[in-house]
Structure formats: structure tokens, C-alpha cells
Amino acid sequence: MTYTPEMRESIKAVEATRERRLNETYPAIPVAERQVLLNAFHPDYVEDGMREIRVGSSKGERTLHELADLIEGRPHIGPEFDLSEPAVETDVLVIGGGGAGASAALLAQEAGARVMLVTKLRFGDANTMMAQGGIQAADRPEDSPAIHYLDVIGGGHFTNHPDLVEALVKDGPVVIHWLEQLGVMFDKEPDGTMVEAHGGGTSRKRMHSARDYSGAEIMRVLRDEVRNRPIEVMEFAPAIELVLDEEGNAAGAILQNLETGRTFYVRAAAVILATGGSGRLHYQQFPTTNHYGATGDGVVMAYRVGAKLAFLDTMQYHPTGAAFPEQILGLLVTEKVRGLGAQPVNSKGEQFVYPLEPRDVEAAAFIRECRERKLGVVTPSGQPGVWLDSPMIERLHGPGTIERALPAMARQFRRFGIDMTEDPLLVYPTLHYQNGGVVLDAEGSTSVPGLFIAGEISGGVHGRNRLMGNSLLEICVYGRRAGRSAARRALEKTAGRPTVAHLVTWNEELDTVGIDGAVRSPILLPHYARD
């Protein structure tokens, strides 16, 4: 599984230019020219990859076919589902066991609500766990929340919702402090100064990290804290449909025991959807960095009860997915590798893009290099890629840096016989993040009263493109906000008589436009078993 002789030839070219490149950085693309590159090479601009949604409150909005199919899907249950005897009654029902769900559960419990957290797989099986690079927060004297705001909104091509960005950047340092009080071990200098790095599209170093296990460290601490509190946790119990009361307020959800298949109703006065993204739908057949359960369930369920959607015509393709070896195709090579100085170079060992453009721009440049300029390297299975010159890191920062700062990455490749301190890594864009989703306000509320959202399911915080390190921040900021808001709501107002009557109108609407019902959604898991 080590590099083939052909790939070795190209690595020689990379080695030959390395010394010179240590003192050279390819210039950034002018902002005005970014769009031209995106139009030509970014998957978001592939016209026939998308279509308009034909039903519901965001009818006419475009999204990818794979997601549109599920959004327009039929429910698993009928409107006659018996809601008369809830299996559980609680104040706040949190659906989703990643970082956003855990943060929400903690804050809702602190606010005095009874809380139940349910999750499709194990608690912590989430993209949070896999986030490597870090979490942004403007806490250095050279930085400020206002500068962070500018970076976020510029990275999002000025489409982000201003209130949502404000909450994100203002809560940033507060969240870092909160996490540290819970016991998260951030990387620090001996005097306590946080070690902070640049990420794509940042004008200040504000990427806090916990080696390259940043998300895993945050997730395992949040999970442990939830387990220390009087919060009921139910695993392998995904939601399959939301329940409203007769006035249209959220009133809980129908869950399914993933192992026995039994369905049951959990009644709640407020519901927080923190179900994450949808990389496992493999848009346009891209491989993905996402965890097994990232199938867009929350978007499907929220839409069916009338929540609005935004920015679902844009997905984030992380520039550096592993392109070799095939066993780990599409898995993440953290942006921190470039943050530490590794340059992307083509088959001839030459730079072709500024290493830290916003992710969409960087990804488009990689695709152009392979597809148009034919200067990529092709693997035996036909997968193209460009080199990420990781050995530069130790030339720039000294021996041992990779083992210290990137132990997960080094281990990942070592398992397959590649030593990233000696050899470059072959990378190509991989499906990474759902930029858009359900519309929310800065308190985590949606257009459905009593329904709150947090994390990757949401749309508007990042606009059309998210910067590295702002998703770990988002899950905490909005998890906390949604948790507080949902508790407040649940303690003020209980839900009325529960119903799933919305399914009658939903099914009628599908009938009207001639959607036959072949697709049932949410799908819960991707179908990887060979038939």
C-alpha cells in the first residue's frame, strides 16, 4: 500500500523543489477572481447536480438531487400513529448525540428543565468526534470578535446572516472558557497562552486545538459531563418523525429502536434538533469525511413540519481528503497540515494555489489542477490527487512537530505504510460539510414554535461557505443557545394535544405534484451492504 513507482517518480519532483519552496508562497487569488474559479470547477456550480424542491415551505429552492429525493420523501409512519400513550414525557427532547446535542442538553438541564437526549447510534457518534484541526475564538490581544466577524462573513461570500455571525463570534471566547472549565485540554504554552494557528480564510491566528484530536477531546468531555448530570440518554433510538400539538407547537418526536424496530412516542414541550449533516448521501458521488449516520434526517423532519431551509444548494468539499491509499479514500487530512506550512503542489512539484484560501476556493483550485491542467497524480484505481507536502512541516518547525501536533494524522497514514514526515500525502476534495440547512435565529429558534436547532443542521451561520474551526465553535455556541431557549420555552408552556396530522397534508402535497412514494425518509443509515 505504499506509493507505486510512478507516484515515487512524482515525489522526486516534489523533493527537488522543496528547498526552494520553503521560502516561497503562491499568492492568494484576488477576491474578484474567486467566483470565476468557483463557477468553473466547484461542485456547487455543476448545474445538473441540483434541482428545485417541489413541495413544502421552501418550494422552488434548489438543492442537490440526493437531498431533494429525501426532502420529498414519504414518512415511515401514517397519520393514524397512536400518540395516546407516550413512552416518555420530558420537558426538553434533544435529538442528536454530537457536540451540539450534548451542549444543548447541558444548558437545558442547568436551566432547570428535565432533559432527554436521544441519538441514532452511540452517544458521540458524530462529526464532532472527527473534527481535527480546531476551534476558532478571538481571544488574543491582536484579535477581536469584530475581526473574527469580518473573516467569517468574507469567507461566506457575504451571504451569512449578520445576527448569527455576531452570536458566533461574541460567544467564542466564552465557549472556550466554558469548555476549559469542563476539563477540555487545549494546547497551551507553558505560561498559559493558548497555542493558536491560522486556518483557511483567517486574518488572525485564532485556531485553538487539542493536538489533532480537537473534536474528539471536546466530544468525550461533553459526553462525560452529560452522563454526570440527571439527563436521560437513549442510544440507537433515532427520531423518524416530529410531533406537533393542535396549534402547531412542537410536542415531541416518534423514535425508533434501531435494533428491535419498535416505534414509540416521546412527548416534550420543546424539541432541539441537533442531527448534524448529510455527507453520507455522497452528493455527486463524492467520498466523504463524515461519520456513518450523517444522512440529513433532521432537515427532512424539520421541513415536514414547516421549518424553512436555506443554503442547501451549497456543500463544503474539504480540499484535502485522502486520495491514497484507497482504504481511506475521502477521509480527512486536517487543514492544520496546511496551517503548519505544508504546501499543495502538483505532479511536477510546483505550487499552484495559496495554501490557505477559503475551502471552496482551495478545493476548486485542486480540481482545476487535475481536471483542466492535467497536473494531478493518478492512483492505480484511477483517483486523481495533488500532493500535500507534509515533510515541509518539520523543515519549518523542527523534528518531532508532526508527532506532537498531528498524532492522529501520522497514525492514520502509518497504519497504511506511509510516513508523512518523509513523504507527501496525496489529496483530493472530499464531501465534508453541509453549509446550509434549517433557518434559525440567534436564539436557535425556528419558524415552528417550540422547535429549536443547533449545529450542522442549521443554515445561515456560515452562509455559502464555512471556515475551518467555526463548526466546533458553532455546535457549542448554538447548542448552548438552543438549550437555554428550549428550557425557557418548556418551563413556560406545555404542549397541547399531540398529533401527526401534518402528514395528511404532506402526503396530499406529494400526491398533487406526482411524487410516487418510492422514497421513504429519513433514511437513518446509508446502504453500504452489498445486495
Binding site: M130, D139, Y149, G183, K205, Y213, H291, P407, R411, Q412
Partner: protein
């Protein structure tokens, strides 16, 4: 004839929970199970080596030793006998972080079984992250919280150490407690962080943010393009 022969794809036998399947040799254990027709619910999570859901024990024919790995990160070998360990019951203490003191006694009181560790090293042999589990358990017995925290940092909590331990230690939960104690109490204080949190609570950035929020897109673009960049 020889051409036909070349087109027959290579297959190797593996035994999934005792049952033989012939699978392509390039697959990971996880993908081999799916190739064999398994629809995975347990024993699968991030599929990227970070979540610890797919802890797997295996033997290879002709080798008496037991091997361990993550199903998503381990390529199949011929005559591999596979057993997934999707769940294993392990003790986890409850505690209130605010009440704990970062002292050796906290470790011993929360997990008295620490002192029962035999130092046999079975845990270390089982660790798919190649951590020195025995070493950090020794540090735990000495009450050295910082050492436990740092040595265990790359733990993915897959549970193989605990599943194999003859002394029934919950190693990964002990390590988590040590890391949380270190993160909260022992790591050096970040003055700049505390300073910024205070400034935010005093509303120091509200005016600057309000100004940006009200700016038109063109003005904002101008401000963004001309912002100064901190050097690498």
C-alpha cells in the same frame, strides 16, 4: 484461457464471527463485512479511526496470538477470524467537576480499583492506538494526574483495554477523569482568555459588531479585502 484467468478478481477467505466469506483483499474489515452483506448498526461509527465504535479482536490461522484493531482502519488478511466488540460493560463513576480537587486522592476515591492494577500490560497489547496504557495506569497508581492526562491523550475510548483487563480496570474512564482534572485545574491559566471574556461581558465589542452588521455588502467587501493579515 490465461486472459480469462486474469479477470477473475482475487478473493481471500475471512471468518466473520466464525462464518467464512471470500472477500477482496484490499478491503478494511468494516468494508469486508459490508461486502459480505452485513448492514451494520453496532460496531460502526465515524469510519475514520476517531470514535472507537469498531473495536475488533482477531486471530490469523497459524498464529496463536490474539490481535486487535479498529475495523475501519485494518485491512483484511487471509484466514482472519474476526470478532467485533460493539459493546462492553465498564464501570464509569459519576462526579461533579466543581467539587473535585486535582489530587491523587481524587483518583483513588473515584476509582478505588486503580490500586488493584496488576501491571501485566495486557491493556497495552490490546490498544489499537498503541498507547502505553500500562504506563499511564502506573502513573495513576502514583497519583500523577498530569502524566495520565498526557500519556492517554490519544485514547479513543474503544474499550479494548478494559475488555481484556484481568483486574477489571476501567482504564479509559480513569484516563478521562485525569484529563478533565488536568484541563480544568492543572493546565496553566490563560490570562488573555479571561481578559477577553471579561471585555465581552462588559459589552466592549458591541459597538464594533453593530457597525459591521449594519454595513452594506460593498462596504463590507472593501473592509474585508483591506483587512491586515497577521503573518504566519
Amino acid at each position: 484461457m490465461s486472459e480469462d484467468k486474469e479477470q477473475v478478481p482475487e478473493r481471500i477467505p475471512v471468518y466473520i464471527m466464525g462464518k467464512r466469506y471470500d472477500v477482496p483483499p484490499s478491503l478494511t474489515i468494516m468494508k469486508a463485512m459490508e461486502w459480505a452483506g452485513y448492514m451494520l448498526v453496532r460496531g460502526v461509527g465515524c469510519r475514520g479511526g476517531f470514535c472507537g465504535a469498531c473495536a475488533t479482536a482477531y486471530r490469523v490461522k497459524g498464529d496463536a496470538r490474539l490481535h486487535f484493531g479498529l475495523a475501519c482502519q485494518t485491512v483484511v488478511k487471509p484466514e482472519m477470524y474476526l470478532g467485533m466488540i460493539p459493546f462492553f460493560p465498564v464501570e464509569r463513576a459519576g462526579y461533579d467537576m466543581a467539587e473535585l480537587k486535582p489530587e491523587a486522592s481524587t483518583l483513588f476515591q473515584t476509582y478505588p480499583e486503580i490500586l488493584h492494577c496488576l501491571g501485566c500490560g495486557t491493556c497495552t497489547k490490546a490498544c489499537p492506538q498503541e498507547l502505553d496504557v500500562k504506563g499511564y495506569m502506573a502513573a495513576a497508581m502514583r497519583g500523577d494526574i498530569a502524566a495520565v492526562a498526557n500519556m492517554s491523550f490519544d485514547c479513543i475510548m474503544c474499550g479494548l483495554c478494559a475488555a481484556r483487563c484481568p483486574a477489571e480496570e476501567p482504564q479509559y474512564n480513569i484516563a478521562l477523569l485525569a484529563r478533565r482534572l488536568y484541563g480544568r485545574y492543572l493546565s496553566p491559566r490563560s490570562e488573555h482568555l479571561h481578559q477577553r471574556v471579561t471585555e465581552i461581558s462588559q459589552g466592549q465589542y458591541d459597538a464594533a459588531l453593530a457597525e459591521l452588521k449594519e454595513m452594506g455588502t460593498e462596504a463590507l467587501k472593501e473592509r474585508y479585502t483591506s483587512r491586515d493579515m497577521e503573518p504566519k
